[in-house]
Amino acid sequence: MIAQHLPILVVLTFFAGALLMPLAGLLHRRAPWMVAVCTCFTATLAAVYALLHVAAEGTVRYAMGGWRPPIGIELVADPLSTFVAVVLGLLSLIVMVHSREPVEREIEGEPITYYASAMLLLGGLSGIVMTGDLFNLYVFLEISSLASYALLGCGSARASVSAFRYLMLGTLGASFYLIGVGFMFVDTGSLNMADVTAIFAETGLTPLTTLAVIFILVGMGIKMALLPLHQWLPDAYTYAPATSTALIAPIGTKVAAYVLIRLLYEVFPAEAIRHLHLLDVIAALGAVGIIWGSVMALPQKNIKRMLAYSSVAQIGYIALGIGLGTTYGFIGAILHILNHACMKGCLFMVTANLEARGKGIRIDGLTAELRREMPVTAACFTIAAISMIGLPPTAGFFSKWYLLLGSYEEGRWIYIAVILISSLLNAVYFFRIIERMYLGGGEEAPAQAPSPRGTALLIGPVLALGLSLIALGVGNLLIVNYFILPMLPFAP
């Protein structure tokens, strides 16, 4: 019975959580945090159930309000959308559990609005993932974007400036997407993705289609922070409150990458993609992004800023995988969406822990003292860093491995070189920190290091993500076989 409503369930849970937030705030100061954790937990359960149900029984299509598509809005739970929904749910759950101390410390005033915005962001993102309608996607995109401007802009006034700059670029991106959808509507007369695909198969390529495709890609490129359109990202991530970054960095840009996958492989006519060499362009931009992000991360003195530039590079990997357009490339891209979400979530929560302990997040301020005071956090940072560099058996190795296989298969030697060079650059900038933590000098830590309250909530989620990186690495074949291969949009 409940299975037929699965596509809407994840989205509605988050929105219900957002609505409950003001009521929860009346009860107790910490009730919003608990509501947020419970909401994310319920949504994760729904997403996992949807993933398993879809894997067993096939795609579930849901007509909103009983209006049949293509007239009404359709939500679709298929292997790809449920997989991304599970990643989103799990990550949000872990970050929300971790968020109690950072939010109480960094956000002035009641935490109600902060958590309500976080729930709206997650509802918007899961809506983007689940929807099967082009205009509905725009609405969810704007819901999640508005919430993310608020989340990134609270905290310091410096954060508001960078959030405002992001708002300008983000609105531009969403508007470009809307123009593209307009052209597509004029061209086909439909907004339902499956319907548009069917109409394109009949009518073929028109000049309007080309315009639509270009506008939509530029818009999504801004949202995804694909190379020439990434300027908003480093500032926005650096100055935002720790929890906002930990929530938005792992899943925000990935959802835009998901939209790109969905539209490129399923909606846009194959002719248009071939005609415009879209896949080659995206792969090339991804490759340049990988190198540029890694090089820019090298001289950074602030850990958060370094991680932000590394995010630009990691988005490049996903774009490269999408652009290869082969089975291995696709597996690499999807696996990297999952792996990078776990790695970046772990790393940004580590920076939050450093701030919670009153440590700076400047790299030259780190000493070996840190390892003695915060052994678990330091160890998790090291695991995540090793995974970012891509050493087996951590998760990061395997997504890079599939990307290498894909490049090799296509004979794109330059991409193989790009991935290897970027791994070396990753090693350089992460070992700068690891070296300071483990080999650097520093006095013995005072015997009774004052431990702030709620330490378990700070360490537990970081540890969970750190261990998951090894588990994901070891179990990558299971994930690929059971979940990623069924979502392949083309024959392997």
Partner: protein, 122 residues
Amino acid sequence: MLELFHDYGAYWMCFLILTIGLYGMLVKKNYIKKVIGMTIFQAAIILFFIIAGYKEFATVPVRDPGLSTENVDAYINPLPHALMLTAIVVGVATVGVALSLLIRVYARYGTLDEDALEDKMQ
């Protein structure tokens, strides 16, 4: 060539407004002017959709007993209007968030000029 301008006059006008908005968003140094540019830009997109739904000699999309429902050419396409209602709401919300961010920025730095702000943040 002239027909291209004549037949698609409304679209050219819409394109012009779009460009003015884009210019304001990207080139203007004052943040309030950037927000104004953004509003113009969004208005142009709304116009674009409305123009796309327009048909000559057609009436409003309310069922008219005097007209047969068979002839859809007698009615304007209502879907773009419905979509743009949503887009207008989104636009208002965006302006609201933008202005509230700017209030915080102005309270802290006392200016909304990009160059002056850049100096103060150093």
